[in-house]
Amino acid sequence: MKNLIRVHNLTHAYEKSRQPALKEINLLIDQGEYIAIIGPNGCGKTTLIRHFNALLIPTSGEVQVDEFPTNDPKRLLEIRRRVGMAFQNADNQIVGMSVEEDVAFGPGNLGLPTQEVRRRVDQALAIVGLTAMRSHSPHSLSGGQKHLLALAGLLAMEPKVIVLDEPTASLDPEARTMVLKLLRELNSRGICIVHVTHSMEEAALAERVLVMDKGELVADGSPDQILNRVSWLKSLGLAPPIITELMWRLQENGLNVSSSVFTIDAAIEEITSLLEQLRGSSQASLTREGDENA
């Protein structure tokens, strides 16, 4: 498969005299992946993703998007139409006077003809479900709707990858579910998702988890391989999903359960099968006792 983003020996220092924020990062991202990036505050997550669409240029090393190196200013528009980026505060990403004009901002920057702009705006609004609010002022939207609008603005660019920096940090649970559901749907349409998050529950939704610490990539694997390393995650200052920690504690106490459990449903299944095992064995021991008595 062709690599969408190649990161080769990337080092980035904001100031020459200070410790670099990123040290020798190597990373390949393929089309259609769903990646979560986790790590404690100040570990360089934001610095890393800002290299993906040339908002930051490597101090040394190289970042390529679809074979275009990000340090070539002539390719900037090519890179940015492929890599959409959503920031934490949706309010500061909305530039249009109405919902649909905001979505039209990106395609307008690409210089597309009006008909094509219209088609993309209608399509993007339909995907995020804001068609009914098309002529509203962005100011009248709720926090969750503003995030959906920000995503629609990216979708209208028809990107290959969408990078999100803690998109759910300030949202209520309902809006959070809405945004996460949309991310999964976009991924199923073949768009690669790179999701920076503090929530391990959200990281568990990804296919691949990257863990960063002190400017380095310290782990890269599936949620199964990473999120159940409870004591290691805690030593990094990260909290594993609560349900995983519960299963891990049960396991530590000698119970026969798996700790690769990230959702309540999976936990229920695991616990029920454990109970059934116990009931089976206690019944077996009861019958044995009865036999001995006889």
Binding site: N53, L55, L76, L77, R80, R81, G84, M85, F87, N89, D91, N92, Q93, I94, V95, G96, M97, S98, E100, E101, A104, F105, G106, P107, G108, N109, L110, G111, L112, P113, T114, V117, R118, V121, S137, P138, H139, G153, L154, M157
Partner: protein
Amino acid sequence: MLRPGYAYRESPVHDRDPRVKLIAVIALSIIIFKVNFFGLLVVSMITLVISLLGRLSLRSVLKTVYPVLPFFILLFLMYIFFTPGRPIPPFPIGLLQISYEGLNLGILQIWKFLLLVVAAAILTMTTSQSGITMGLERLLRPVRIVGISSHDIAMLISLALRFMPTLLDEMNSISQAQLSRGANFNPRRLSGKIRAIGYLAIPLAVNVFRRCDELVDAMEARGYQPGHRTYLHELALSLLDYWLIVGIIAALVLVVIV
């Protein structure tokens, strides 16, 4: 106040290209300072007809005049008291006098100013903000000769309009935060008033800069580059629009030259 009552209605005035309306308001502002009493009457009648065609209620149009009314009354008093000429009978009372010339001039000038305000109100009530911005962008295209891009000007205007309500919200929350910490916004002394502005303006300005940083990143990430771009709504002049522009400019030339 921020959105002076624009609401779309199906009317020949709403459906005109914003450029026609912008040119009309500019032309009107020149014409009314060149015409006499009779000409002013004609322009007023035309304005009235346009607002009726636009299905605007006269009350809502006149409402837009209220905020400027105190200023106009002051201006009117200055005209009637300070214009020299033949005094009207009960005057002069002491040093105070009202002249025929002053009364005449006062009424005419205030009438002109009011007409200007009403014309601007009709423009904003029948044209969306983005319509006005787009219209300005197209009208200003020739300034690229001196190296200014009209696209950038339109971007500036639309960003200002977009963030106006956001900043207003933010100002309210800052003022509440300051009040809850014991800041006093209604002091009697001037020095206190100046300090109160600082309590609001400094945090607001800091926040605006922080917002700007994020906005710049977001705009760049969405491929913004100064200069040429395209829009969701491209303006297109109809035949009627062309004829109206020709008519307006002909009237302007006629009034200014004759």
